[in-house]
Symmetry: C2
């Protein structure tokens, strides 16, 4: 076989090299595989995953992004990173096979309590929050506002105003805050929206004061109380 032919280099080769190099460092490997569960994570979380400082993590994530291994979703001050697509997951899967870990659990492994209910800043998140959000929309308490596609903004309908007032929410106080009133906040364990903004915060505050939910000692997890079970079922049709 002639040398010229053997030495011919495809541009794909160099691309593969740099992609493999992007995967190759332990910190980045850990970050990528932690994202295999389908959850998005913030830069700070991934710094912990990678066991490096936030600044180092930032560099790593920039690299992963430039190689199109992850995509980023900016929400407020947070940057949520997730795998760029199924093809990335498949490639990582194949590599893990070579690594002799034939079966690693690529299933979501968010702790159950956190998946069910947790706080997201000052509002409610998790499976329950997503169900509630769906109920609010289905009941026409909330409707898409201007620029909903971009900002996720919701407006409260008259039915919604009555309903939340009946619950005991102080809507005037919520509106007085200089912050977004209601918007669709992507829930990153459920991958569907839940209710954020002043209204979401007010609802969480109400649920806590009514003892529908209780805060866990040192995490963002929330527990649904016996009362909460009953109220969520009767008032909002939630099934547990």
């Amino acid at each position: 076989m002639d040398a010229a032919r053997l030495a011919a280099t495809s541009p794909v080769d160099t691309a593969v090299s740099s992609i493999a190099a992007a995967i190759a460092k332990p910190a980045r490997t850990r970050m990528l595989y932690s994202l295999m569960d389908g959850h998005a994570r913030t830069g700070t979380e991934l710094a912990i995953v990678g066991d490096v400082s936030p600044s180092t993590a930032s560099v790593h994530l920039a690299r992963l992004k430039s190689e199109n291994l992850v995509k980023v979703f900016v929400q407020g001050r947070h940057r949520y990173y997730s795998l760029a697509g199924p093809s990335v997951a498949r490639a990582l899967e194949r590599l893990s096979v070579l690594a002799g870990g034939p079966r690693r659990p690529f299933v979501p492994h968010t702790p159950e309590p956190l998946r069910a209910a947790r706080s997201c800043y000052d509002h409610l998140a998790g499976a329950i929050a997503v169900s509630l959000h769906d109920h609010f929309v289905r009941s026409r308490w909330l409707e898409s506002g201007r620029g909903n596609a971009r900002t996720g903004a919701y407006v409260l309908t008259s039915a919604g105003t009555r309903a939340f007032a009946t619950l005991g929410l102080d809507l005037d106080q919520a509106r007085a805050l200089r912050r977004r009133f209601a918007y669709a906040c992507l829930d990153w364990s459920e991958r569907r929206p839940h209710l954020g903004g002043a209204l979401g915060a007010a609802f969480l505050a109400l649920a806590l004061s009514r003892m529908w939910l209780a805060r866990e000692y040192d995490s963002r997890a929330l527990t649904v109380t016996r009362i909460g079970h009953r109220e969520f079922r009767t008032r909002f049709g939630l099934e547990f």
Copy 2:
């Protein structure tokens, strides 16, 4: 999500890191992808492929071997490297998808003339050589000798002795050479054995002198002449 859980590192992660690192350098990437066609290549050939010196290639190949990405088959002074298994090919395939080369031709791309017939040191190789080998064995001209499993040694049967003598081969001269008389030499484009050793060399010399085959100007490729077509078909039942 608590930090301890996020920071938990699986041993698979570090294995993936080092495997990815092994793939990551351009020289090694080129070597690996050149092996995707299923052909084994010698260290020297892979040095050319990787565009590095033989000594550097040796280091690279040692690394690929230690990561179980390639396996090596020693034949004489040559070390034939090939992908360690289908799982390696699959992983490389996935990576090339990420690299944006969705479809690269992972089919054998040995130049056709070389696939058909070429010299292997001093004997005949390629598709024709494999067919001939099969004919010799099927016709009971050759039978497995002592240690065939290890050395691939063949012994000539009395039928074989008569047949080759009839062809005009000087078997005594071939036997007089201080080299292996006949053995199964792995054909790396066909991945099946062809006839090597003194007998194989004598056969090639005969075929050339009878004008069944003609050498190409500057490669190992051999051309089957019109006469060769007829003779190979009538004498050995080869189909073209």
